[in-house]
Amino acid sequence: MAEAEIVAAAPAGRLPSLEATRRTGGTALWIVLFLAPFIALYAGFTLWPLLATVAYSLFDWDGIRPLSHFIGLGNYQKIAADPVFWKAFTNTLIFAVLNTIIKLPPALVLAIVLTRKWLWLKRIFRTVFFVPVILPVSVAGLIFTYLLNPSNGSLNAVLRGVGLVHQPIDLLGHDNTALMALVLISVWQVFGQYLIYWMAALQNVPDDLYEVAEIDGSGEWSKLRHITLPMIRPMAVIITLLALVNALHVFGLVVTLTSGGPGRSTYVMSYFIYTEAFSQIPYKYGYASAAALLFGVLALIFVTTQGFFARKAEILRRAYGV
């Protein structure tokens, strides 16, 4: 069979095997060449630190002296019995879950609104919502430190001015409100980012599906339920798990707003690791490495889960024929 015939007989979208083999062989060198920088950086700044962290976690090490005091699983045993670690672990999970639950649905609703053809000033709205994302975390922390301060913060001034409260409320100063306040501030900051993600997902839905639905007489709600939501499901899985994983890394806001307090009510994993590793000399690199590794395992579980759900969602999308 001639090569032209093979190409013609191949299903649309797939290269014939002969062509594929030839091209692959011809470009293998280039692939390796282009991948080399990434592989080198990945090995140096991801793989090696990961392996080093595993090694350090088995030592009682201050990060400076020779790596000589091997203690096996000693750090892990200590961590398992450390209530502060578990407090930080629990807080991190609560933070990540609440943060995700609170930020994603409103961001989706807003993204749907902002992708409507009839809406004016879309770009301005997008910019407004995206501005907090580009603010450094430290600046966001400072803004809210002053905004929420019970002595002279604007929030209390307003609440007292309209007579809603008589005594100043200290959202960051009580153990039952501090974590929630952090969650809300974090949502405020990253909301625009997830708005953009949702908009990107929505723009992937083919317009012709909506056109067909309109011909069939479907309303907006029906289109949302039966077209939009099912079609963006694969992206939704990825966005949700990205949101969760990103929220697990909360650190800057905790440092700038609460320093883990009051007490330990806003201790999160990154802050725990930082405190153990760096707050006093001799540093506890070994112990902090073990905590970091356990934390890494948690994040890995989320990432792995992401793949599973994403595949399931993709199958569903294919079932829709797109």
Partner: protein, 499 residues
């Protein structure tokens, strides 16, 4: 497993990227330390590192002046924030990029700074192999060069920089205009806890929109008030009692100090919020709060914020009305600048140190006039012209205000090799501050958690000391116990019985 040998370059790489890539990355490499050179007229660049960024302008003046006097020497003085500094210095030494002179003070046990640095191999002796001119040592009062603290094997490695009598916590500051507005004598500070509470009541009643006290509670900042209250009734040694050799957060006297602080909070006298020290200081400077307690450095801090010393008063911290007075601790811990083992110009660096420590020299005068602190080798009274700083000196030099604490290291020299106390203190490093803040703002039972903290640390201390003793070190809990000493009396140096 003993002697796990990691190739140095791997360990260095590991340092850069460890802990999941979260931590600070610093450039590696650089030239290995060359053999020390002698003084010459060749151009020399001396690098100095510390964490006093507020002194940057002064450091530039020092560098310019020194260059004028020594045209072949250029000083590069690098001052960064403390947290960043503590992380980068180990990496600087690890990558052979250490400065010639550097600032270091151990937070856990300042007195053990030299032995820690010696252990790391970061320092070299001053002068010619540790032999310093006698007239140089005479710049300090007698008894300031102590074996184990800044002298090792007869060689001098460090020198007291900040003085240890005036410098430290123990000072009460008040905003005069708020005192006046409340009908109080603007020139009279409360001298007892009850007087302070009464003044607060007056301020609250006359100035309902203002606050009596600004008490920072964020992170480790509760120490600003805590050391003063603890020193007034017992000791400000950070949570360790040298009379009993015990971690002491649950000592009845400290529980009483806490109870007093909590009572101020409950009475609504304290500005609300878990604020940091900068915020609290600004509240006093801005006239939102009347009282603040902190250290001798406040006049310098407030001068930078434009809060003139005529607008506030300085006094000793108030004492409890119905309990014996405690004492603030005077320690052998003010050795701060060290000569780096990696310096390629140790002779020039040593000459610079001698120049810096001239009692009437350019450095001392500029440092004192800048209000950055009090120096151990200079006439502070002469050059600290700020009225508030003059008052700080008067308070600080009052007899009994600060007493010389016993030094366990002088009783048990093997403590330089011991990690027991530092391991015990490093167990959740900020635990005491977190407990204090939590109990205050959430109105929790402090005694129970205080006991939990003290017991946990004591357990580590005792166990580690036992292990070290079994390994041959002459250390025990007795090294940390000075039962005959009183908190507000100088410890009699002749009472050290070495173990």
């Amino acid at each position: 497993m003993k002697g796990f040998a990691t190739p140095p370059f791997l360990r260095r790489l590991g340092n850069l990227g460890a802990l999941g890539g979260m931590f600070v990355v610093m450039a590696c490499g650089g030239k290995p330390a060359a053999a020390p050179t002698q003084t010459s007229a060749q151009p020399v660049t001396l690098k100095i590192s510390d964490y006093s960024p507020e002194q940057k302008d002064f450091h530039k003046q020092v560098a310019d002046q020194y260059h004028t006097e020594h045209p072949n020497v250029t000083i590069e003085w690098n001052s960064i924030a403390q947290a960043q500094y503590n992380q980068t210095m180990p990496l600087a030494f690890e990558s052979h990029q250490a400065p010639d002179i550097f600032f270091w003070k151990s937070d856990l046990n300042p007195v053990l700074t030299m032995s820690y640095l010696f252990d790391q191999g970061w320092i070299r002796p001053l002068g010619k192999e540790g032999a310093v001119p006698p007239d140089w040592q005479k710049r300090w009062p007698d008894g300031m060069f102590v074996e184990g603290v800044n002298v090792k094997g007869g060689k001098v490695y460090g020198f007291p920089f900040t003085d240890n009598k005036i410098w430290g916590p123990g000072y009460f500051y008040w905003n005069k205009s708020l005192f006046k507005a409340a009908g109080l004598d603007e020139n009279k500070a409360p001298s007892t806890w009850n007087e302070l509470a009464q003044d607060c009541a007056a301020i609250k009643s006359k100035e309902p929109d203002k606050f009596c006290a600004a008490v920072p509670l964020k992170g480790t900042d509760p120490q600003r008030w805590w050391f003063n209250l603890a020193g007034s009734i017992m000791t400000d040694q950070p949570f360790f009692d040298l009379k009993s050799g015990r971690f002491d957060l649950n000592d009845p006297r400290l529980l009483k100090a806490f109870g007093y602080l909590q009572s101020l909070y409950k009475s609504g006298y304290v500005a609300p919020g878990v604020n940091d020290k900068d915020f609290s200081r600004q509240q006093v400077a801005a006239g939102q709060a009347a009282m603040y307690m902190d250290g001798a450095w406040m006049p310098g801090v407030w001068a930078q914020q434009g809060f003139d010393s005529s607008k506030y008063g300085v006094a000793a911290m108030p004492y409890p009305d119905d309990a014996p007075r405690g004492g603030l601790a005077q320690r052998y811990s003010e050795n701060k600048y060290w000569l780096s083992s990696q310096s390629t110009h140790p002779q020039e660096a040593w000459e610079l140190i001698q120049w810096m420590t001239q009692p009437d020299g350019f450095f001392a005068q500029g440092y004192l006039k800048g209000g950055f602190g009090t120096l151990a080798y200079a006439n502070n009274q002469k050059y600290l012209t700020d009225p508030a700083m003059q008052q700080v000196i008067r308070v600080g030099t009052t007899k009994g205000f600060r007493a010389l604490d016993p030094e366990p290291l002088l009783k048990c020299p093997d403590l330089t090799k011991s990690k027991a106390l530092s391991d015990a203190s490093a167990l959740h490093p900020n635990w005491e501050w977190e407990t204090i803040t939590d109990a205050i703002v959430n109105n929790k039972n402090f005694a129970t958690t205080a006991k939990e903290v003290a017991d946990a640390r004591q357990k580590v201390l005792t166990e580690e000391l036992d292990k070290e003793k079994a390994s041959g070190l002459k250390v025990s809990l007795d090294c940390y116990t000075f039962a005959d000493w009183n908190y507000n009396q100088d410890f009699d140096v002749s009472k050290y019985t070495k173990q």
